[in-house]
Every structure is written in C-alpha cells, then in structure tokens.
Symmetry: C2
Subunit: 140 residues, 2 copies
DNA sequence: AACAATTCCTATCGACTTAGTCGGATTTAA
DNA sequence: TTAAATCCGACTAAGTCGATAGGAATTGTT
C-alpha cells in the first residue's frame, strides 16, 4: 500500500508552484530542479494537472505554469485524486464499481466495511490539508 | 493507492478461520470456496500467515488451519502488516528508511508530514478493528 | 527574421509487482 | 493403502511505474 510518485510528485510540484508563482509563470525546469524530479517525467504530470484544471500553462520563452486557484482552495486530496484516481482501496468502493456482485460472496461482504472506514479516514486527512497550509508550515 | 489482494484475501481468510475454526482445522479448500479465492494462490498467503505465527497448520487428511490466538486479539492491522509490509505510504516513513537523505531536498520535506498523518490515521483505523469485531458484525 | 526557451505530444522501455498456475513431495486420518 | 490435505519451488502473463527519447508548436528576446 504505497502512494506512487505521481501523487507525491504532483503534490510537491503544486506546492512548489504555490511557493513561487506569485512573480509570474514558473518553468517546468525550475520545479524539477528544486523538487528533484525528472524533467520529462514531471512534464507528464503537469499535463495531467493542467487537463484537470488545477494549473494553467504559458507557452514560449519565459513561459511556465501557474496555479488556477488560491492555494487555500486546493487540498492535497484534490491533487491526489487527480494524480492517482479516486481514493478507493478496493474496487467495490469506486464511485461506479464495474463489478456490482463483487461483494455478494457469502452474503454481505464483512471486510468491505473495514476498507470503507479506512478510505473515509484517508480522505478526511487529505482533504483537511491545503497548499496554503503547507506553505505556512515551511515558513514556520 | 490500492490495497492488494494479498491484504484483502489475507483478512478474508483470517475472518473465515475465525468463523469456522471452532470445530477443528479448516481446510484451505473450504476457505477458498467460501471466500472465492484461487486455492493455490491462497496457499501462498496462508504460508505467509503461518510463518508470521498467526495460524498453525495440521497436515494430512482432515487437516487444515487454525488461528493461534483469540480473534479478539488479532487486528486487521496485524494481518495487513504481515501481508503487505509496514504501513508506510512513502519510503522515508519506513521503520528503517534505506535512503536517509530522501527528505533533504529543499530543506525539510514539507510533504512528508502529510504522508505521516495519513499513515497514522490508517494505522489507527486498522488497529482498532479485530477479527472478533468482524464476526460480531456478521451475526448482527 | 532568427534564436532560444519553453510547453506539448506520442511512443517506447526496463524493471518490478500482481495474481495467479503448475507439478510434484510430504504427511496423516480413515 | 488410499485419499485428503499441507508444503514447496519454479514459472508466467499482464499490468504498472518511473522514467527516457525525439520531435512539433509556441512565443519572448535580440
């Protein structure tokens, strides 16, 4: 049960933008260097974030990326869901489970409740932390 | 961020044993059938659980598996940790992180705190649910 | 107009993990 | 003796991860 680099790098990149995007667009290169992420790989992640509407890009020289919202309105949970998909530890907890009968074995699946509680708990924590919180923490 | 079948099946199998092992050993076959798990695959999982000391086996005809402890003293967290390894969403939260410098980029890694909170929350939930709880739930 | 910086896009890849399968060896109750 | 069962090691198909490669398109600067 690991979080992938997509999620980790995604949060790191968004945090980096929150810290540096007040004086105009921030280039992929500088984010990659500060956060120690492969530039080409980060490019793919930024593309995901852009398509999801969390960042906008400025092409051409002196271009880069900007947040589309206030850091206080972007939670870590938002980013994780974009990068890693819905927070559902098991398939039958997905918004639209493809296999509706997955829990019909031996009556109602008892263990499903366990995973549901864990997912709730994860979501609660992730949704309660915003980029603004992280920035504040850095400046302590 | 999914839980693998190792963890899921592990919990399902342990729950199955808790429900059925009062009248002697429970065969792999019957657990596999009730929980709809491949018999050969489950065999490997039971081997892991046995080596970790959570079940004991009785070989030969009429053999099978038994829990080694009271269901009230086995938490879902115990099982998950055996089946999936330590609950550490990122490597730098492992008990003995192999790369101690992983969080040294840009000073102290701000995002690490996020993952630590999530891990704590997951552990708390998983450790608070025992096999006995699951059995009680089934009987409602 | 040329150049350099930068984002955008598609394809590919090696290593690893997952979720099994297969074939047998060993043990033991009936 | 036989059938039921655990034990063990090797193998595998498919998918994911974390990139890498190569170029096309856009735009500020000179």
């Amino acid at each position: 049960m690991k979080i992938s680099t997509k999620g980790r790098y995604g949060v790191a990149a968004m945090y980096d933008l929150a810290m540096h995007s007040e004086q105009g667009p921030v280039s992929l290169k500088s984010v990659a260097q500060r956060q120690m992420i492969s530039e080409h790989y980060l490019e793919q992640l930024m593309s995901t974030l852009r398509k999801a509407g969390y960042v906008k890009s400025v092409r051409g020289a002196q271009g880069g990326y900007l947040l589309t919202k206030d850091p206080a309105n972007i939670s870590v949970g938002d980013i994780i869901r974009v990068m890693e998909g819905p927070i559902a530890l098991v398939d039958c907890l997905l918004p639209n489970p493809e296999d509706k009968d997955c829990c019909e074995r031996a009556g109602i699946c008892v263990t499903r409740g366990v995973w549901a509680k864990v997912c709730d708990s994860i979501s609660t924590v992730l949704d309660s932390i915003t980029l603004a919180d992280l920035c504040r923490e850095e400046k302590h």
